[in-house]
Amino acid sequence: MKKTAFLLTTLGLFIASCSSDDDNGPETLPITSEQVINLYAPQTGGQGQGEISGEFTKFDLATGEITTSTTEWDVAFRGTSIAINGGTETGMADEPERNGNAGLTVVTGTFNSVTTVQGLSFAQDSEGSFAIQTASEEGWYTYSGPPNHVISPIPGRVLVVRTRDGHYAKIEILSYYKDSPAEPELTSESRYYTFNYVYNPNEGENSLE
């Protein structure tokens, strides 16, 4: 996995920091915008090869790193399934235990247009279903079916996440294929996530820009 990070200073952040100066409260941390490239999320089984199993690849939005911790994770990937560290296990094999209070909702818009979590309600994983559905057009991707069987992230679907410990973040999945080919084919190596995310390190703060 390769990670590129850069700081984002936005107007919102500027206003936020001005006001916090007046409050004389604790210093506001800068919001980070990052891109994760080729996060590998393998699975065993599925696609006619029996029951899906295998470890999820867990990701910690606070550190921006893949983790094997059983508690310090927010979102986890296995094939096209995305689990969050909140709610209960859905009942599939080899799922990670949910011990945080993560939530997720899908907002339609460009990544930049999603600026706040104000007014959003969050779903959690539950018996029989993930907070974000693993089905073509229902969740984050469309599945082209025969002959190419390509998974395409739906442009304009922004995953807004409440992390396990009450921080907010937004995620935009860009590709499901290794090195993000412009036109994935049947032979392209899949289950490699590339996504943008923005994380607000200030607990409970609504802003995502």
Binding site: Q47, G128, T134, I154, E183
Partner: protein, 695 residues
């Protein structure tokens, strides 16, 4: 009106004259040919083409012969607004007014043909060797023909023998890819009996547009068509028509999976038996009693040649039986009342079905064709269909034509069309072994889903059982056509504007999720689409022997809900260069797959009477179209990468008559060798030579 007929003759002469001249017949006979320019399909009665209030394309035997085409798809795609295109399933079908093949009814002598692959009717199954003419009525005609007649009706009319002596022709044609077409056709009018017999053999070594991959785009095949017809005048009131047709095709098939090559055959076989008794009660009342039977089978077996391991073994066996009775009463003012009633039994037995599936339906139709004023023609009709598997359908239609003056006439029509849910949409039971998804027909979905649930294969249900209980509705359309025809001396211009609105369109949706991560799909009514545009056809006779025609269709075809989403700024795409997400604008939204905005043709037919020869050039163009969504937003936009670019085809043919009885024809289809591996039905340049002997 007489003036109109003579104008018509001038225009129609364009099509008829070259052959007539080359056959060395009396020029006077051309007039008779013109008056024969009658069509049956639009009203189920004989009507002069130019007097109809509906948009109809007529393709004559002369055009077919001069163009040197041998299969139905070839000649149809040379007509304005009619294109053949392969859909997502890979099968090719015809599209009219932007409406795809599954909504277009194919008839031979007024009775329907069955046997479709994923809704597509393969028109190359039909030879044009014994056709008198092809009639295409555009827009909905369910008021007469019931299900499937939404986009149009293509009716192939065979010839009624009229020569006392035995006459006919034999021909041999050979072309690129060792494509061979052999025809024998003979007929006779012998006292009260007329009979015709026709045999065709068509074969090709096929071609390959992707030489780097194993297997051919079109593998080698050969097929036979036999057709026998008799017409017996029992007395001056009763006449019996019978026709039997048989088609048999064998094509090589093969596929390589995991480095193992599987080989086999793909076979198709079709029977049609058509019996009709025409009863003239008196000069005013005629009744036809008709019985029609057809059976279509397709089988494919793929096995490893050495150890015999079977990869796939699929069967398709469809039977249709249809008795119908219809009558026409002609009133003293020459208005006509036509009514009919029939029963249809349709059965399909195929792989991936849970047993045999059968439909039964009964129907009634009525049509009144009247001229309340001399220049005004009104046709009012309607049909009621009662079906065993879905709700009853009533399909009305109104068409009006008004002759403003000798040059100008207006026509307008509005009609309903419907398509019954097909067998696949109701009874499919298919699980993909490689990927693991399941597709269930609507009628079997609940029971099969329960079975899968009992087997522990379902992780969660996405659509509750209660929602799967309502019956699937028939797909409906309403079509509007507005036309103007202008004729002056050697020029004729026909403009038609159309709009078709579809509702209840059936598509798949995920109804449950399996433990293997894949979905269970079933069918449901949800889409609403429209197709709209305009068509212009113009013909001009530069001289008696040089005729020019041009056609153009402009088409917009959209899913209404998607168009609304784009308007509301809810659809996004990623710019491939910057990977930035942006909202799709209305101008970026291209519309439905496989639709070209522009479709045009230019044809020149030149007759050289002194040389007993004729030649023609036909230029066909269709603009770019997209095959599928590539960027995951569920619609076709300018950021998608599956566009097939605009395509120009040039076809030429020349015929020379020698020793009166022989015709030699040379030609080239796709003269500039235009190919695209995504247009599987279009080989490169096809040269051909044909020798025809008439007796």
């Amino acid at each position: 009106m007489r003036r109109l007929f003579s104008l018509l003759s001038t225009v129609g002469l364009f099509l008829a004259s070259p052959i007539v001249h080359s056959q060395g017949k009396d020029p006077d006979s051309t007039l008779t040919t013109q008056l024969k320019e009658v069509v049956l399909t639009a009203t189920r009665t004989e009507r002069q083409l130019s007097s109809l209030p509906l948009p109809v394309t007529l393709i004559t035997k002369q055009t077919i012969n001069q163009s040197g085409t041998v299969r139905l798809n070839e000649i149809l795609q040379e007509q304005t607004g009619i294109v053949t295109v392969a859909d997502e399933s890979g099968f090719e079908g015809v599209q009219i007014q932007g409406i795809s093949s599954e909504y277009i009814l194919i008839l031979i002598d007024g009775v329907p043909l069955v046997g479709r692959s994923a809704g597509n009717f393969d028109l190359s199954r039909l030879t044009v060797g014994n056709i008198k003419q092809i009639e295409v009525v555009k827009g909905p005609s369910s008021s007469l023909y019931g299900s499937e007649a939404l986009g149009g009706v293509i009716n192939i009319i065979t010839e009624k023998p009229d020569t006392e002596s035995l006459s006919g022709n034999a021909s041999y044609r050979i072309g690129s890819n060792t494509t061979q077409d052999i025809n024998l056709d003979f007929q006779q009018h012998y006292g009260p009996l007329r009979y015709g017999f026709f045999v065709n053999r068509f074969s090709s070594e096929g071609y390959d547009l992707r030489p780097d991959t194993e297997g051919q785009t079109v593998p080698p095949f050969h097929n036979y068509t036999f057709n026998g017809r008799t017409y017996l005048d029992l007395n001056d009131k009763l006449a019996l028509f019978s026709s039997g047709r048989f088609f048999d095709q064998k094509q090589d098939a093969g596929i390589t999976v995991d480095n193992i090559s599987y080989e086999g055959d793909s076979k198709e076989r079709e029977w049609n038996a058509h019996l009709r008794l025409d009863h003239k009660w008196n000069p005013k009342l005629e009744t036809q009693y008709e019985l029609y039977f057809t059976n279509y089978t397709a089988t494919e077996l793929l096995a490893e040649p050495l150890n015999g391991e079977v990869l796939s073994d699929s069967d398709f066996d469809q039977t249709l039986l249809r008795p119908e009775i219809r009558s026409t009463y002609t009133f003293t003012d020459n208005s006509k009342l036509t009514g009919g009633a029939g029963y249809q039994f349709d059965r399909l037995d195929r792989t991936y079905f849970d047993g045999k599936a059968a439909f039964e339906s009964q129907y009634l139709y009525l049509q009144y064709d009247v001229n309340p004023l001399a220049p005004l023609n009104v046709i009012l009709g309607g049909r009621f269909d009662n079906h065993s598997e879905y709700n009853d359908q009533f399909s009305p239609k109104l068409a009006i034509r008004y002759q403003l003056n000798e040059q100008l006439s207006l026509r307008s029509s509005v009609g309903y069309g419907f398509k019954a849910p097909d067998f696949r949409q109701l009874y499919f039971d298919f699980s993909n072994s490689a990927v693991g998804y399941t597709v269930l027909g609507y009628n079997v979905a609940v029971a099969k889903l329960m079975e899968l649930e009992a087997l522990g294969q379902i992780s969660n249900i996405l659509v509750p059982y209660s929602e799967l209980g309502d019956p699937l509705k028939a797909e409906r359309s309403i079509g509007y056509n507005l036309g103007v025809v202008y004729k002056l001396d050697k020029l004729s211009v026909d403009i038609n504007l159309f709009r078709n609105d579809f509702e209840n369109m059936i598509d798949t949706r995920a109804i449950a999720r399996k433990t293997n991560g894949q979905n269970v799909f079933s069918y449901s009514n949800f889409h609403e689409i429209f197709t709209t545009g305009g068509e212009v056809n113009a013909t001009y006779s530069l001289t008696d022997d040089l005729n020019l025609s041009a056609g153009y269709q402009l088409l917009y075809a959209y899913d209404k809900e998607k168009k609304e989403s784009v308007k509301n700024g809810e659809v996004f795409a990623r710019d491939p260069l910057t990977n930035q997400t942006l909202a799709i604008k209305g101008s970026d939204h291209f519309g439905l797959i496989n639709r070209s905005r522009h479709n045009a043709n230019l044809k020149l037919f030149y007759n050289l009477p002194k040389a007993a020869a004729n030649m023609n050039v036909r230029v066909l163009y269709r603009s770019k179209y997209a095959q599928y969504d590539t960027n995951g937003n569920g619609l076709i936009d300018s950021y998608d990468s599956s566009f097939i670019k605009g395509n120009l085809l040039v076809n030429v043919a020349a015929t020379k008559n020698i020793y009166k009885k022989f015709d030699i024809q040379l030609g080239a289809n796709n003269l500039f060798d235009s190919t695209d591996e995504n247009i599987p039905g279009q080989p490169g340049m096809q040269l051909f030579a044909k020798l025809n002997y008439q007796f």
